[in-house]
Symmetry: C2
Subunit: 136 residues, 2 copies
């Protein structure tokens, strides 16, 4: 199972594009889009990155216009990171690109295989959630 997943994801990652966000960057964007603004410390913890690493990533993303920083009104030490419209566009474009490639591969399979994968998706999603929860 493991080599299967590894092959798939390394392939997806190699889909080149002008604005190819790193996996962590995309994960941060998706999280901000889904859950709203978050502090650097929380992003670092949730994405299993160091706090300085997250500061730097957020810095690069801000420079690229994907997020913006604002002081946390509730805590003078804190910073709230928020996704921008351009950040949301990147999420949309990246997902569209990946989905298109996946669909293309998917179409090379026969009906039986496609049905088996579709039937397993909810279970795989729960497996992924178990993995995520285990981290926290």
């Amino acid at each position: 199972m493991l080599p299967v997943l590894g092959q798939l994801v390394r392939f997806l990652r190699q889909i080149d594009s002008p604005d190819n966000p790193s996996p962590v960057s995309l994960a941060v964007l998706r999280r901000l889009d889904r859950d709203g603004p978050a502090r650097v410390t929380d992003l670092a913890r949730l994405e299993r990155a160091s706090q300085p690493g997250m500061t730097q990533l957020v810095g690069r993303m801000e420079k690229a216009g994907l997020v913006r920083r604002a002081p946390d009104p509730a805590d003078g030490r804190g910073v709230l990171v928020e996704v921008t419209g351009e950040g949301r566009d990147v999420i949309t474009r990246t997902h569209a690109r990946y989905e298109a490639t996946l669909d293309e591969l998917f179409d090379t399979l026969d009906e039986t295989d496609r049905a088996a994968i579709v039937a397993a998706l909810p279970a795989l999603e729960r497996l992924a959630r178990a993995a995520t929860d285990r981290q926290a």
Copy 2:
């Protein structure tokens, strides 16, 4: 489907360990173990890396004792890269670690979900192969 795969694999990658080979490094080790010695150029092509990148990766792996280099008797320009016993040990340990973690997650699912995933594995494997073939 994509976020599911992304979550799973990023999680697996975060399993920390004293000797955590990079994904490409592990892929090279597995290939050498499965198919025998290979030239740098072929490894670069097969793993979608640049030739200098593969030279450097093989250099690091050789330094770590995972592979050895030997002149290609059939071509004075070529170098044959071969996995060592220690390299095979790393494959075994890494897979064991990953499989153990996957099993642990797997056990949190109910019987229906587990069956669905098991049933989809051959299809997922063909999907991964389609991805790999598309590269070549």
